[in-house]
């Protein structure tokens, strides 16, 4: 009772009560760091904007008004100003979140749905199957995705789906390689052998033993890929291969703003900042997911 912080009436440092408190504190230790929470909240807000943004938009995003062209932010009735056709930038931003996020998320989902089983099968069965699958993936990886997008644009019509498909296909080999690597890492470990010894079939082993270990690196790649795909969608929109001009899209807006940079910088600043913040939030969210999925904990 003489040592340390133990004052009058305070129980000894290692009393049962204190021990219980320490255990409780350890249990409620946050699974997410502050940054990860910020990223998660930010990502959530962006997603909510994509879903409900159009309801909050003050104007029709495509309504032109040549009386107020290139109005600066803070202009009357136009909080974020107007573009070169007098369209309300705030409304276009709110509408644009939808196609931008859709291209980023859907293409990543597509790439993962194909790439994950692709890589796991290659890594698990190895041999000639692995050889064949991964060489095909290498070819895909070496193929410039813009060229792929141009090719796809000629055969599929709705531009958003062209962008999603092109961005998704471009991700397949990347995710497949990660899934294959993670599969190779665990497939010879004894617990896979133990599952075989317990009479499990290959598909069950892939699903129950290997998938949980592959999911972690693939999830990380996925969360990195979403912002990359958002930027990719912007590139496609710039080239006229993604979302077509009248439709609001952050990438498209950024591309158009380029011509007016010396007159109205904000035209580029808002979509650019939106893409940047979205990318940042998804990345932080991804880091948080990585930590939370790591059963050993980082701390």
């Amino acid at each position: 009772m003489t040592a340390g912080v133990a004052g009058p009436g305070v129980p000894a440092p290692v009393s049962a009560r204190n021990a219980a408190r320490i255990v409780r504190a350890a249990k409620v230790r946050p699974r997410f760091s502050a940054l990860a929470i910020a990223g998660t909240v930010g990502s959530l807000i962006v997603v909510l904007i994509a879903i409900f943004g159009p309801l909050a938009a003050p104007y029709d995003p495509n309504a032109t008004n040549f009386a107020t062209v290139l109005a600066p932010p803070g202009a009357p009735h136009h909080l974020l100003g107007t573009d070169q056709l007098g369209r309300d930038v705030l409304s276009r931003m709110l509408y644009g979140a939808r196609s931008t996020l859709a291209a980023g998320i859907l293409s990543t989902v597509l790439g993962t749905l194909v790439g994950l089983p692709y890589g796991m099968i290659a890594g698990y069965f190895r041999g000639p199957a692995d050889m064949l699958l991964m060489r095909v993936a290498d070819v895909l990886l070496a193929f410039p995705f813009l060229l792929l997008a141009v090719g796809l644009a000629t055969i599929s019509s709705p531009p958003l789906w062209t962008a999603v498909l092109a961005l998704g296909v471009a991700q397949v080999p990347v995710i497949a390689r990660i899934a294959r690597g993670a599969t190779l890492e665990v497939r010879d470990l004894e617990y896979v052998q133990a599952a075989l010894v317990n009479g499990e079939r290959d598909l069950t082993i892939l699903r129950r033993q290997i998938l949980p270990n592959v999911l972690r690196p693939v999830t990380v790649q996925t969360t990195v890929a979403i912002p990359t795909s958002i930027v990719g969608a912007a590139i496609l929109a710039f080239l006229g291969l993604g979302v077509q001009p009248p439709t609001a899209d952050w990438g498209g807006m950024l591309a158009q703003a380029q011509q007016y940079l010396n007159q109205s910088v904000w035209l580029g600043v808002f979509p650019g900042a939106a893409i940047f913040i979205t990318a940042l939030c998804f990345n932080l969210f991804g880091d948080g997911i990585t930590d939370a999925l790591n059963p050993r904990g980082r701390r």
Partner: protein, 340 residues
């Protein structure tokens, strides 16, 4: 020991084709494991003991050529369909491994991993599986079983992990448990606990145990019978007491001479290593496989690998050695001096 054995291996031969030519890993191995028996397979690394066990389950590495027959009761395991083999694995024959660190999936709770075996073979799920897992955890004396249902492997100690592995192995009441060096990675006190657990489970569940080890201490504490393997061949087999007190094969004598023995002259007796190393066999041996390292090798040892023969008539003690009498190592100070 006269009833039909539970598990019978007949003339097993496992070879690999490598870039440096063929490799004969297991040759002419015949074993019989009787109900309720603990049979220890002893040998150095590379003697083919683990490979023999894996081939029982049809899990030899890809590229291995396996011939011979393996019977579980009256079912010939090397002839059954892959589907039937999967049903046997985990249900009739279970196996535990050396390294409890890597034998459990780090991404899944141990409760779920044990439940998985029950789901696979007994169709149990949900509450039924959970209560059965709890029973199994109690059976393997895992402390705080309820809490550990949701523990991840890294939250458990090595001994606890091995208990979980044992729970998985005995989940479906196998008739044969293959234990591949089950205590090698554990410290001696935990080793003793795990061994006594295995002994108790063997008795209460009526399993036969095929114990693969290189630890003669474990053998003396656990095994009813011992098979000594060397370079893919069975060199000696005998009831444990007989083998430890009067080994008949020079290799077994060498093995016993290389480990400290508790008791009598533990302080003064020098440990004698066996010189050389286990040879890699490329083809059918034309001499006794141990002859290059044998202190007693004679010209007739270089003509063929001897077959197992009765050491003393009327006993179960067999050795694959042509020599009639090996000088007793306990009284022999320097056996190598007599080498020809």
């Amino acid at each position: 020991m006269n009833e039909t054995p539970l598990l019978r291996i007949e003339d097993l031969r496992i070879s690999f084709r490598t870039t440096r030519g063929p490799l004969l890993a297991v040759n002419q191995v015949s074993l019989a494991l009787h109900a309720n028996e603990v049979l220890a397979v002893v040998g150095e690394s590379g003697s083919g003991k683990t490979l023999t066990a894996l081939s029982v389950l049809g899990l030899e590495p890809p590229g291995a050529t396996v011939t011979g027959r393996i019977w579980l009761g009256d079912e010939e395991l090397r002839g059954v369909s892959p589907r039937r083999l999967r049903d046997i694995r985990g249900a009739s024959i279970a196996m535990i491994f050396q390294e409890p660190m890597t034998s459990l999936n780090p991404s899944l709770t141990v409760g779920r991993q044990v439940a998985e075996v029950l789901r696979r073979h007994q169709g149990l799920s949900g509450y039924d599986a959970k209560s059965r897992v709890l029973e199994l955890f109690d059976l393997v004396r895992l402390p705080d079983a309820e809490r550990h249902l949701r523990s991840y492997p890294h939250q458990l100690s090595g001994g606890m992990r091995q208990r979980v592995m044992i729970a998985m192995a005995v989940a479906c009441g196998p008739s044969v448990l293959i234990a591949d060096e089950p205590t090698t990675a554990l410290d001696p006190t935990i080793e003793a606990q795990i061994l006594s657990l295995l002994r108790d489970l063997r008795a209460s569940l009526g399993m036969a145990v095929l114990l693969i080890t290189h630890n003669l201490g474990v053998v003396s504490r656990m095994a009813d019978r011992v098979v000594v393997m060397y370079a893919g061949h069975v060199l000696e087999q005998a009831p444990t007491a007989g083998l430890l007190t009067s080994p008949a094969h020079p290799y077994t004598i060498g093995l016993l001479g290389a480990v400290p023995q508790p008791g009598s002259n533990a302080d003064t007796r020098r440990l004698t290593p066996i010189a050389g190393q286990v040879p890699l066999l490329r083809e059918e041996p034309t001499n006794c496989v141990f002859s290059p390292r044998c202190a007693y090798a004679e010209p007739r040892c270089l003509t063929a690998q001897p077959a197992l023969r009765q050491v003393t008539p009327g006993t179960a003690h067999q050795a694959a050695c042509v020599l009639d009498r090996i000088p007793d190592p306990a009284r022999e100070t320097a056996p190598r001096a007599q080498a020809t």
